[in-house]
Amino acid sequence: MRYVDEFRDPELITKAAEEIRRLADPARHYRIMEVCGGHTHAIYRFGLKDILPENIDLIHGPGCPVCVLPMGRIDDGLSIAKESNRIFAAFGDMMRVPGAHGSPLEHKARGVDVRIVYSPADALQMARKNPDKEVIFFAIGFETTAPSTALTLMAAKAEDIRNFSVFCNHVTIIPAIRAILDSPDMRLDGFIGPGHVSTVIGCRPYEWIAKTEGKPVVTSGFEPLDLLQSIVMLLRQLESGQAKVENQYKRVVPWEGNRAALQAMAETMELRPYFEWRGLGFISQSALRIREKYSHWDAERRYPVPETRVTDPKSAQCGEVLKGVLKPHQCKLFGKECTPEHPIGALMVSAEGSCAAYYNYEHRKSLVTEIASVA
């Protein structure tokens, strides 16, 4: 185990690992999905798979917003920003993400005014400082970042800052989980619920997964011990035949969520009838758009949008990986045509995507082993 000396409580880690081994029925095969990309990253980084018994598989879910964003949305956003008096403002994570006609960074090289912001509030400030330019903020993220976009929209309206708008790509996690559970080849036993998203939405929105689908959910923190404890809690439920929602991350996640954040989202945004998710296809009521009363600050209403559709090659098996049917390396393109340097499928696009995480930690490790054995 690579990072064991850095763990704060090695003894507790060992105890949790022992408890997992005791609880896991050797006759069963467990498939547990961690929904959040941050958890995926932590699981690989800490080598948690090496601690778990072989009959527990962690399936990496759809919770990386950069990965699931359809490529055409990047083209659409950049197409709006191409006009001479406009600024395209986006988080640094987006800069190298390819659209069909190039990434934001490539557009910058071609003369489009593309700028990195670290907060939507700074995109609004950019509009205040540049009254002769129109600033388009490329908003992305789950419920973790949507409330910040919402408050920024409210500030823009309150101050009547007319040269600011949001190209909204916010998505909501629950419909994605529903889509995965609804697919016929789904084989999951339980969920490690997202940490930061749950800070906003609380734990109630997961209750249907336990009640209707009979699958336990445990919202979890990000430390190795948090994740192992969450797996213990899931296994205890599975052992006793229960399915309920539990909160392992109580120190940050309130059961009812963050009311102010939810109110800001409800004030400014509403559900789209449907939205495309890279790797999962169209999912109904799975994304947010800006409400009509904020239409002046909605880039999609203010400017013509080409509605670019880019389909991933059929050979990319992102959907199967997302549903846990295939491991990342079992996809036909993994590590060959599709690598973090040249992503073809959704899950290779960002470091938190499951294929990129697998490639960066497991695949590179196996290559080193191969080279060592040849030498």
Binding site: R45, P65, I116, Y118, S119
Partner: protein, 115 residues
């Protein structure tokens, strides 16, 4: 974008805008506090920040844990880069709150090259 960054509120701005100055490992930046409207932090309180907005109040011990976690995940530098980038458009007129110079005026970040 998905980083949760711990910081300590060192100054509260008066008025409706609900902004505070937060210290993250010695770097001080303006952070929006509006998402904590139901339970506003006071000077000295610790918060978790996402994209320039404080999202939760936490304890000092949790803040230390979170910083340690970011280090273990190899994301501490990204987090600090993000914090330094907050309020970059205000750096033309430095205030007491902006003690560190902008590192990203060129607009290209190391973070973007991560993948």
């Amino acid at each position: 974008m998905c980083l949760a960054i711990p910081g300590r509120v060192v100054e509260l701005a008066a008025g409706q805008n609900q902004v505070g100055v937060v210290d993250v490992a010695g770097v001080r930046r303006k952070v929006q506090l509006g998402l904590l409207a139901d339970d506003m932090p006071e000077t000295g309180d610790w918060v978790l920040i996402h994209v320039g907005f404080a999202m939760s109040k936490i304890s000092e011990a949790q803040a230390t844990e979170q910083m340690h976690l970011l280090s273990m995940l190899g994301e501490r530098e990204l987090a600090m880069e993000e914090v330094r980038g907050y309020g970059q458009d205000e750096h033309a007129t430095p205030t007491a709150a902006t003690v560190t110079p902008a590192v990203n005026s060129a607009g290209i970040s190391k973070r973007a090259t991560e993948n």
